[in-house]
């Protein structure tokens, strides 16, 4: 299966008695961006470390560019770009020295000056690593990952500690990588980052995959979760509306939540008409990736032992979204 950039199956990673990754499978097709999303401690970095060959998995198989990350380490490394979450650089070396060192390892490296300019590091060329701010160190780490013209890059929380401007520069860069045919596996806990960059998102929770799909699929699967109706104040929900949670937040502003498919929405609006109310506005609010994410990850915190895997393919949710939802509202 050499046409996949990364293919991991049933990966298990343990630290003593703690299982950090518990049977995770995922695939990064060539030239695509996959985002691993999850809280700190969800197992993202551990999984990445297996792919990077830093750690041998306690179970399962990992193939990276068709190779074994540990057995084929030396053949694989020139083809990878690795950005660690922190460190990895001599504190006393300057930004320019470090980037040129990594460039000298590659057969046909990118132009170092171009990279320094693109990442806004030119003025830090003679600054030592330990004098750089966290965001500047992140940008240099990204430059190090890219300088060898890799086929595949692993980015562990690439924009952590960056200011807004640097974050947008980095996002543009990652979009450009994808356009130029580089495969990307990145971890993040920023939802807008995942939503903007990723072809596919894998949400991890406590070492397992909680959901996979494209950002659009993940949000569409959750459907419309809120209907806002503006009508006459003081209406008392009854009849068909009893199946929904209705709140009148301010007089005349009704928020209706529940299982809102097309039939349900027409019933709700129909009830208002039947009650003789003058409806002046109807708004639907679709779930964002953040809602999906919070729902999936909160379910874990409220002590849910069951694994509610939401697998999304072509817009169909294959397993119970509602179970998770109820647990959240409890």
């Amino acid at each position: 299966m050499t046409d996949e950039a990364v293919e991991v199956r049933d990966i298990v990673v343990r630290y003593g008695d703690t299982t950090a990754v518990d049977g995770v499978s995922l695939t990064v097709p060539r030239g695509r961006v996959l985002s691993l999303l999850g809280h700190n401690g969800a197992g993202k970095t551990s999984l990445l470390q297996v792919c990077e060959g830093f750690r041998r998995a306690d179970g399962g198989t990992a193939r990276v560019l068709g190779l074994d990350p540990i057995d084929d380490h030396d053949a694989l490394m020139p083809r990878l770009g690795i950005m660690l979450q922190s460190g990895g650089v001599y504190p006393w070396a300057t930004a320019g020295e470090i980037l040129r060192l990594f460039a000298s390892f590659a057969a046909t490296p990118l132009d170092v000056d171009m990279l320094l300019d693109r990442l806004g590091l030119r003025k830090f060329e003679r600054t030592r690593w330990r004098r750089l701010s966290g965001g500047e160190q992140q940008r240099l780490s990204l430059a190090i990952a890219l300088v060898g013209r890799p086929e595949l890059v692993f980015l562990d929380e690439p924009t952590a500690g960056m200011d807004t401007e640097a974050r947008h520069t980095t996002w543009q860069l990652i979009e450009e990588l994808r356009a130029d045919g580089v495969s990307v596996l990145l971890t993040t806990h920023l939802l807008d980052e995942a939503e903007r960059l990723a072809d596919a998102v894998v949400i991890m929770r406590a070492g397992v995959v909680a959901a996979t799909g494209s950002p659009a699929e993940l949000t569409a699967a959750a459907g419309i979760d809120l209907l806002e109706v503006r009508a006459d104040p003081g209406l008392v929900p009854a009849g068909r509306l009893a199946d929904f949670k209705v709140t009148e937040s301010t007089p005349g502003e009704y928020s209706i939540s529940g299982a809102l498919d097309a039939t349900a929405i027409s019933e709700v609006v129909g009830w208002f008409a039947g009650a003789g109310a003058q409806v002046t506005a109807v708004n639907t609010r679709r779930r964002t990736l953040e809602d999906v994410y919070l729902k999936l990850t909160k379910a874990d915190r409220s002590g849910g032992s069951g694994v509610d895997v939401v697998k999304v393919r072509g817009g169909h949710a294959e397993s119970s979204d509602q179970t998770t939802g109820e647990r959240v509202h409890r």
């Binding site: 830093f54 001599y90 990118l110 356009a179 130029d180």
Partner: protein, 252 residues
């Protein structure tokens, strides 16, 4: 695919990869003040202080014949052991070893580059110190150079092994403390600046610095051969330490 970032992966020729890493190692060593002091200032001070003045009590009439080889041995200890233990400990904790091991340099390349940098550094230091010694009146027997180099290679291997072992087992702060303490203890007990209590053959096995210094005195200062017990001691230290380091070495 075209475009700025279009993939074109590949490793530069191994020789140039390793050469640029060696250059980086040497640049960083030169940049660390305490490393430079340990590498040259301390040995020079000891050599000129103990060799040219009567501040310490040394055996024999020829002070330089006693002191200069001792200082050469001390320099090997400071660079191959103390310096390397401290740097490796910090590089490990900063994630540098891990990161470079996962670059096209590769782990064997990194180890090779570090070894080459340390050997080059030691060679340079010994040449400078021997030249200063000769300038102030030390008269080495150059016909005994080969066995002197032999024991020096063994001592370097033993010290490097111990350095990497400590850096793998201890936190960097603890490594720094322990490596400095061992350096000072060896300096005091090894008979470098002043005559230490003679422990005989046992002393050579306990204190590799004393064995190395004595071997350099026998060869370079007196044109004699290296005592068999010293060959055995240094070879044993080298084998044990390098084996232990190879078993316990940690990249992160």
């Amino acid at each position: 695919m075209s475009g700025t970032f279009a993939p074109a992966p590949g490793r530069a020729p191994v020789r140039s990869v390793v050469a640029s890493q060696i250059r980086m190692e040497l640049t960083l060593t030169a940049r660390r003040g305490e490393a430079v002091v340990l590498a040259l200032a301390v040995p020079l001070l000891v050599m000129l202080g103990a060799g040219l003045t009567e501040v310490t009590n040394v055996p024999g009439d020829d002070r330089l014949a006693f002191v200069v080889p001792g200082v050469l041995a001390l320099t090997v200890l400071s660079t191959a052991f103390t310096g390397q233990a401290i740097t490796t400990g910090y590089e490990r904790s900063y994630g540098v070893l891990k990161r470079l091991g996962a670059s096209p340099l590769s782990r064997p390349g990194l180890l090779f580059a570090k070894t080459a940098a340390v050997l080059g550094l030691i060679a340079g230091q010994l040449i400078v110190l021997a030249a200063v010694g000769a300038a102030v009146g030390w008269r080495p027997h150059l016909e005994a150079l080969l066995p002197a180099l032999g024991v020096t290679v063994l001592a370097t291997a033993a010290y490097s092994g111990l350095a990497l072992l400590m850096a793998s087992l201890l936190r960097p702060e603890a490594t720094t403390g322990a490596a400095t303490l061992i350096y000072v203890l060896m300096l005091a007990a090894g008979g470098i600046m002043f005559a230490a209590p003679d422990l005989g053959t046992a002393g050579w096995f306990l204190l590799p610095l004393a064995a190395h210094a004595e071997a350099l005195r026998a060869t370079l200062s007196h044109g004699e051969s290296v005592p068999l017990a010293i060959w055995l001691s240094l070879a044993a230290w080298a084998v044990v330490m390098v084996t232990a380091a190879a078993k316990k070495f940690r990249w992160e």
